[in-house]
Symmetry: D2
Subunit: 307 residues, 4 copies
C-alpha cells in the first residue's frame, strides 16, 4: 500500500497547476496551490501516508458528513421529515430547486441541506460549533483540531448566498432558529482545519460498519453506515457525484478546500488533498488520485475491476 500511494502521488503530481484554488473567500485563496497529500486508514488500524498528509487544511463541505452523523445520532430517521436523500442534479448552490420543492432540500450534502441539518443540530446543542469540534477531535483521535477563526469570519462576510437559501427555507417554514446564528455555526464547521491523516481516521467508522477502528466507539449502526455511504455515493461530490461513481466507484465527500474522503467498505477509509479544483469544484488531483487508487486495488463498490 505504501508503494502504491507513493506511486499514485507521483503520477498525479503533473496535474498540479491545472486547477484553480477556491477564491470565493479571501482566506481560502491564500493557500499555496501545489500541495498534495494522501492517507489511508485501514479498519485494522493500519495507517499509510504519502505527501503532505499531516498538513491541516480547511475541511469545508467534508464537515457536512459529520453534521449529518450528529443529526442521525440524536434524531435518527426523523430528520428526513425536513430534507431528502436524493441527488440534486443541480449546481450545489442553486435556489431554483429549493423553491420548486417548497423549501425542502434534496439532500444533506448540498448547502441548503447542510443548513437544515445545522438548524436541527442548533436546536439540540447549546454550542453546536463546540460539539462539532469535539466530535471531529474524538473521531480523528487528534485533540488539537480547531476551527480557523479567520476562515469562519471570512465566510460569514460572504454569506449572502447561504443566507438567501436559509431565509428561503424559513419562508417555507423549514428553518426554526435564527438564520444568522445557524450560519455562524455552519461556517465554524466548514472552517475546521484537519489533515489527511485526521480525516482518514475520522471517517474510519464508515468503512467499519459504523464502529471507529481506533476507539471502538459505535458511531452509527451498520444500517445507518450503509445509508450515509449511500448518500455520499449519490450526492457527495456536488454536481459530479455521478462522474465520481463512474470513475472511482466509492462513496466520497469533497470540500472546496481541496480535500476528498472516500470509503472502501470493509477495508479502509482514505483522504486525499490538493487545493486546486476542477470546474465542478472538486480537487483536480484528488479525483485523479482516487481514480488511480480504485483501479490499482481493483475494487469499486459497483463491480470488482479485476477479472
Amino acid at each position: 500500500m505504501q508503494a502504491l500511494l507513493d506511486d499514485i502521488l507521483e503520477q498525479v503530481r503533473p496535474l498540479l497547476g491545472q486547477g484553480k484554488v477556491a477564491d470565493y473567500i479571501p482566506a481560502l485563496a491564500e493557500v499555496p496551490a501545489n500541495r498534495l497529500g494522501i492517507a489511508v486508514f485501514g479498519v485494522d488500524g493500519s495507517l499509510y501516508t504519502a505527501g503532505e498528509a499531516r498538513q491541516a487544511f480547511s475541511i469545508q463541505s467534508i464537515s457536512k458528513v459529520f453534521s449529518l452523523v450528529q443529526a442521525i445520532q440524536h434524531s435518527g430517521e426523523e430528520i428526513w421529515q425536513r430534507l431528502g436523500h436524493e441527488p440534486s442534479g443541480q449546481p450545489f448552490n442553486s435556489l431554483v430547486q429549493l423553491e420548486f420543492e417548497r423549501g425542502r432540500p434534496r439532500n444533506p450534502f448540498i448547502n441548503a441541506g447542510a443548513l437544515v441539518i445545522c438548524d436541527i443540530n442548533q436546536s439540540r446543542f447549546a454550542a453546536p460549533a463546540l460539539s462539532m469540534r469535539d466530535l471531529a477531535r474524538r473521531l480523528s483521535g487528534n485533540a488539537r483540531v480547531v476551527a480557523d477563526a479567520k476562515v469562519a469570519e471570512s465566510e460569514y462576510q460572504h454569506r449572502a448566498r447561504n443566507a438567501a437559501a436559509a431565509y428561503l427555507m424559513q419562508a417555507f417554514g423549514n428553518f426554526h432558529n435564527e438564520v444568522e446564528t445557524v450560519l455562524r455555526s455552519y461556517f465554524h464547521h466548514c472552517a475546521l482545519a484537519m489533515s489527511c491523516v485526521d480525516l482518514a481516521r475520522a471517517c474510519g467508522f464508515l468503512a467499519n460498519q459504523g464502529r471507529c477502528p481506533q476507539s471502538g466507539e459505535a458511531v452509527l449502526t451498520p444500517r445507518q453506515t450503509q445509508q450515509v455511504n449511500a448518500i455520499m455515493a449519490t450526492s457527495g461530490l456536488y454536481d459530479e457525484a455521478g462522474n465520481f461513481a463512474y470513475r472511482v466507484g466509492l462513496p466520497g465527500k469533497s470540500g472546496v478546500g481541496g480535500g476528498i474522503v472516500a470509503v472502501v467498505p470493509g477495508r479502509f477509509s482514505v483522504c486525499v488533498w490538493s487545493p486546486e479544483l476542477n470546474s465542478a469544484g472538486n480537487s483536480l488531483a484528488g479525483m485523479a488520485a482516487l481514480e488511480l487508487l480504485s483501479e490499482r486495488i481493483g475494487w469499486s463498490v459497483f463491480s470488482p475491476l479485476n477479472a
Copy 2:
C-alpha cells in the same frame, strides 16, 4: 436462498393493493395488479425463483440498460459527448433541465437520455428494434423474447412528451435521425416482454464483471461494468435513486411495467416484478422485496450490514 425468496414474497404480499398500475397507456393498464415474482441468478449459473417468476411482462425502462450496453459496445466513451452520467434530480420526464442544459440529457436512464442513446444506435444498426431484441434473447438465453406490438403501438400513440423531448434535443443539434423513426425503435425496446427469470439472466453479466454467466460472452469489460452499475446506482430509479441506494444499497433499474433488476456484484443478479407502482413510479412491492433481500443477505454495496 430458495427459502429466503419464498419468505420475502410472503412478507411483501400484503402490500399488493396499495400501489397503482401504470395507466398512461391503455395497454399497460390492463395488466392484473396483484402479480408478484422474483428470480435470483448467481454468477455460478444457479437460479432461484419464487412467485410468478416466469410470467412475461413489459420491461419498459429496464430496456434502457440494454440500449446503453449496445451503445457502449460499438461507441465506447464517445457516447458521453452526447449525454452525461450525472443524476438528474428531477422527475424522469422533465424538460426544464433539458432546456437549461441545452439539449444534453443528464444520463441514459431518463427518457431524454435514452432517446439520445437510441438515436446513437439508430445511426449504427439497420434495424435497431431487431438488434435489441436479439441482444435480449442472447443475454437471457431465451430465443422467444419478443416485443408486444400492441404495447409499442399504444406507446407511439401517446408519444407526445417523448416527442417533445426529442424535438427539443434536435433543436439543440443533439438528435441526428428522424424523430418519428427513433421513437418507433424506442417504444419497441420498451415493449419487450420478458420474465423475472429472463431479466435476472440477462443482467447476470453486471454481477460478473461483464461476462455472461451462461454463455461466457464478454458483454462489457470489468471497467465498463463498474460504470454501468455506477450509473444504475446513481440514476436507475427515476427520482428515487437516492432512496433506493439508501434503503437497498444496490445498483438497480426499474420500469413502469413493475419490474426492477438489481445487482450484487460478484454474487448474483436479481429481478423482482409486481405491477403496482409507488408515487415515484417504481414497483411498490418490488422495492420492499429488494430492501428485505439486502437486509437478509446482510449486504449492500455501500457497507456490509452484519456486524
Copy 3:
C-alpha cells in the same frame, strides 16, 4: 362622475365576501373585510368620492410607485443598470427568475426590484423611511400621512422571503447596503397608511404629464411620466398585469392591502380600495370597479370603447 362612482360601488358591492383578506402578516389580517371606497382626482383639481374613500389603509406595494419616482428623481436612467423594465411573467415573489437572470430583477414592481430600488435610495437618503413619508405627504397634500409601526414590525418579523431575495441579489453583487437596514426601510414604505383620496391625489401627476395638479410641482418630466405609466401598464398588477390591461386598459398599481391606483392620462387618477383579494393578490372588488369605470367612461389607453 359622482353618479357614476355611486353606481359602480353599488354594482360591485355584491362581490364583497367572495375574496380573501391578505393574512400573510397578522397585522393585515385584522382589517375588516367588507370595506369599499373610491376616489377620482381630475387633472383640473376636481375630486369625486364614493364609499369609504377617506379611510386610511395599508398601501403596501403601491408604495413601489413612489420609491421608483424617488429613484428616478435623483438617479434617472442610471437605475436601469441595476434592474429591468420588463414584465416578469412569474408570481411576484419568485426567486427562480432572479437566480436565472443573475440577480437582476425584471422590474421595479416585483418585490426583488422594489428592494433594489430601496437599496439605491438607501445610498442617497440619510433616512429613506422619512424621505418617503414626506414625499407621500407632499404628493397627497395630507401632512398627517404616517407609517403604521405595528404593520412595519409585523412585516419585518415575516421578512424571510424578501430577505432571501435581497441576499440572493447581494450574492450577485447587486445589493450594496446592509440587507436588514434596507428591509426596515422597505417595510416602512409598505406600511404607509393612506386613503383613496390621499392616493388618488398623490398619483395625480401621473395623469398630468408629471406635474402635481394641486401644488404644481414638477414631479417627473412628461417623458418620465410615460415611462412610469408604461411600467405600471405592463407590470403593475403582479401576475395579472396582462389581465388588467385586457379588462381595464389603464396603467395601474395594486397592493395587498386592497388598494389599486390607476391613471387615465390627461384626465384623472383614481384609487379604489377593498381589502378582499382575488387569487392573484389583487383587490377583487377593486378590479371589477375599475373595469366598470373604463367601460362606462368609454376609455382605455389601448382603444376608445365607444364607436
Copy 4:
C-alpha cells in the same frame, strides 16, 4: 407627416449595419440587410410612406395578430380556456414556463400560444393557410398577398423547437390536431409576404375601434380591439415588450423578418421594416424609428409627451 417620416428614416439610417439579419432559417438569411421602409395609414384613409414601403417581406410573427383575430372572430372569449393573456417574461421560445404551467401558454404572441391559436383555427377552417391568406388580402386591400412557399418549407425543415412546444402541449392535453398539420399552417402564416403599406393598412382596424378604415368591415368590436391592443402592448415584442412600452408607448407587434406594426388608437396604424435585428429579435432601426415617431408626434398611450 410626410416630412416627419422622411426625417425619421434619415435619422435612423445610420443604424443600418449594426444589427443582425435572422439566420435561423436559410431563406430569411438571404434578405439584403440594409432595407428600410415605413408606412402610416390614418383612420381617415390617408397614407404616408417613406423608403422601401412597398417592398414585400416575410411578416413572420406579425401573423400572430391575424391568427388571434381569426380565433376571436369565431370563438370569442372561449379561446382563453386554452391560453392566457399575460406577458411571459421569458425568451419567446422557452419551454420552461410552458412545462411549469402545464401546457397552457401565457399569451398568443409567444410561439406556444400562437401554436394553440393555430390549433384552434385548424379545428374551424378546412384550409387554415388559405383562410389566413384571404384575411390578409381583405384587410390589406391587396389581392396579391401570398405566402412564400420556399420560406414556409425552410421553416418546416427547422421546426424542431416549435414541434417540441406543440408536442409538450399535446402531452398536457392542450393540442387537438396533428402536430405536423398545424405546424404546416403555422409556417404558412409566418411566410406571408407583405409590405409596410400592406401591413399598415391591414392593421388599420386596430386604430379604428375594430373597423377597417378602407372597407368599413367590422373586424372586431371596440372592446375586442382594446383587448388585442392590450395584449400587443404587454406581450407584442418578445422579451422586450416592457422596453417597447417604456420607449415607444404604443401597442405593437414585431416579426423576425424585421417588420414592426404599431397602433396610435384613434389616429393611425404604422408599419416599419428593416431586416437587421437587435439582441431581443426586434428590428433595430424599426425600434428607433418608432421611438422617434412617438416622441415627434408627442403621443404615447401612457401619457401625452408635450407639456
